[in-house]
């Protein structure tokens, strides 16, 4: 990390090598990261009883990762991200219901369909303050939920979409009642998409997104087509969320209206913010923390677990959430903690001042 003291006097080529090393290093995996994924893979063998909730965690983690792409990297706040999650879930579910039972084909179709939806709605979030964006995205999700409710001939309406039967993954692995196939499948998909996302955020494209988040005025002045980039990442994130939704539909073989509900969007926001936005692992860690906590608390007190979740949120914020997440972020070489403790990754600008 220390600056090369010989930089100014060294020959250009040796400096160039140093610069390149520094830039390329950011694409390299740290030990903590590798350990994280190894532990995740190990749970396939060591925690056979918990595969069902782990499956849900993997799906929520992917969903939160998708929100991180737009919130943490591009600075677009969304309170309606469930629109894409639910759309993907319905796409995959309806497809399977009508005979196309191959899971991977379903994922592909669902992600394409949601990408289209994301592209179409991305133009709504290019303008306005954070509050406006929150409400516009929320409105889109609510509208979609209402459409799904009305179109009960297609979606099953409020009763939910029944009669989904999935074929085996890759033609080999049937979904079992222990959720092992489901978890392995979701984890594998999440991992692959994570690797892609990780490449993307260290690419020049990813760098340009961060620059837009930090200072759109300057980003434009550097010649970055800001709107086009935002549309691109919003579309990508939509596709990711669509895949997460499709995974849920395929592994639970049921889709109900609440995949589009407000609480999905709000929960995923909580998950991401708890885990910390802007370093990709936030969504995954947040999903693990939130779900385990919820599982323990709601087993302990099914009626009143929400109180304790609420208390934890309040304490977390008062105790300085960012300090905690910064400590975790520091494990990842690329993102350094901000010394002033201010939200470097949290682009939410004051509503009145934009």
């Amino acid at each position: 990390m220390h600056a090369d003291p010989t930089a100014e006097t060294a020959t250009p080529s040796s400096t160039a090598d140093a610069v390149r090393r520094r830039l390329v290093r950011k694409g390299r995996w740290s030990v903590a990261e590798i350990a994280f994924w190894l532990v995740a893979a190990a749970t396939l063998v060591f925690l056979p009883e918990r595969h069902l909730i782990l499956n849900e965690i993997a799906i929520i983690g992917l969903f939160a990762l998708s929100l991180d792409l737009i919130l943490g990297y591009a600075g677009i706040v969304s309170l309606g991200h469930a629109a894409f999650f639910g759309f993907g879930a319905y796409a995959a579910g309806i497809l399977a219901k009508h005979g196309l039972a191959d899971p991977l084909l379903g994922l592909a179709v669902a992600s394409l369909a949601t990408a289209l939806l994301g592209f179409a709605t991305s133009f709504l979030v290019l303008r306005g303050t954070d509050l406006t964006k929150l409400m516009v995205t929320l409105g889109v999700a609510l509208l979609l939920g209402e459409i799904a409710n009305q179109a009960s001939w297609l979606t099953g309406g409020a009763d939910g979409l029944q009669g989904i039967s999935m074929g085996p993954v890759l033609g080999l692995f049937e979904f079992d009642i222990f959720g092992t196939t489901a978890y392995a499948y979701s984890l594998a998909v999440t991992f692959v998409l994570f690797v892609i996302a990780r490449r993307i955020v260290v690419s020049p494209f990813g760098l340009s997104l961060r620059s837009i988040r930090d200072n759109p005025l300057r980003a434009r002045a550097v010649g970055i087509p800001v709107n086009r980039r935002l549309v691109a990442v919003y579309t990508l994130a939509a596709a990711y969320a669509g895949v997460a939704g499709a995974l849920l539909a395929q592994t639970t073989q049921f889709v109900s209206l609440d995949v589009l509900a407000f609480h999905r969007s709000a929960d995923i926001m909580l998950v991401l913010v708890i885990g910390g936005a802007g370093y990709l692992y936030g969504g995954l860690l947040g999903a693990i923390g939130f779900k385990i906590l919820q599982d323990i608390l709601s087993a302990w007190t099914p009626q009143y677990w929400q109180f304790w979740i609420g208390l934890i949120l309040v304490v977390l914020v008062l105790a300085g959430r960012e300090r905690l997440t910064d400590r975790v972020k520091a494990l990842w070489p690329r993102s350094r903690p901000s010394p002033d403790g201010k939200a470097q990754a949290l682009p939410v600008t004051p509503a009145r001042e934009v």
Binding site: V19, F205, G223
Partner: protein, 250 residues
């Protein structure tokens, strides 16, 4: 030969207020041209018109002889018109390395590249190194921008604009707020900008204007008041009256 940058009858009205009044102006190739004027003369509006942040009410802007009036800001940058900001507009959470790398890779078409790691292309790395050395940032490349000394931040501000390889560079008060100790480094760097870049300098600091510019335009109340060589303008009694009188002859 076409001017590097030219405006023809440029007008901007905000409601009843005329902020830019029929400005027709040429920035010659390789020029070192200063634009001065008292506060509220409309310098910022003019810059915003040139860079495309604002749309003119009427009139034309030409870059290297081509009409760019209707182009969006980022397209103008891609055509070779870059600017710096009077108040730093940097990426506080990024390092100078990333900032310059961003601008370079963007210009080389890398911004659409979402698969390769930044820095995997040789020509990008070479150019980052060249710019970092030119702007004396090589020893702070890995610092967080928000932690840099103010003078270094100003240098970075110019370096980012320069990394866009502009044919025309608009410098908006580059030395504003730089402490005396760091000033020399900055002025030397500005003076050493290559001659194939035409520079329009917007400045309050008359020392800098006189040492840097070979031509001066004076803007008053949104209109072009006068234009000429440094000697002509500094000798013009009307200019002294409206402007220089206050800042030079005190």
């Amino acid at each position: 030969m076409a001017a590097a940058l030219e405006t023809r009858g440029l007008m901007k009205r905000f409601g009843g207020l005329v902020a830019t009044d029929n400005v027709t102006f040429r920035l010659e190739q390789g020029a070192r041209h200063a634009l001065i004027g008292p506060n509220g003369a409309g310098k910022t509006t003019l810059i915003n018109l040139l860079t495309g942040v604002l749309k003119p009410t009427s009139g034309q802007i030409l870059l290297q002889g081509e009409d760019i009036t209707g182009l969006r800001p980022e397209r103008r940058v891609q055509r070779g018109l870059a600017r710096t900001f009077q108040i730093n507009q940097l990426f506080p959470a990024m390092t100078p390395l990333e900032t310059i790398g961003l601008a370079v890779s963007e210009r080389l078409g890398g911004g659409r590249d979402w698969w390769r790691v930044t820095g995997s292309r040789r020509e990008i790395v070479d150019e980052i190194v060249e710019i970092a050395q030119r702007f004396r940032l090589a020893d702070v490349l890995d610092e967080r921008t928000s932690n840099l000394a103010y003078g270094k931040q100003r240098l970075l501000e110019i370096a980012v604009a320069f990394a866009c390889r502009p044919r025309v560079l608009l410098l908006d008060e580059p030395a504003a707020g730089v402490p005396e100790a760091e000033r020399h480094e900055l002025l030397a760097t500005v003076a050493a900008l290559p001659r194939d870049v035409s520079v329009l300098l917007i400045e309050h600091d008359m020392d800098l204007v006189f040492s840097f510019a070979d031509r001066i335009s004076v803007l008053v109340n949104g209109a072009l008041f006068t234009e000429g060589s440094v000697e002509e303008v500094s000798a013009d009694p009307r200019v002294r009256a409206v402007y220089l009188g206050e800042s030079v002859d005190e």
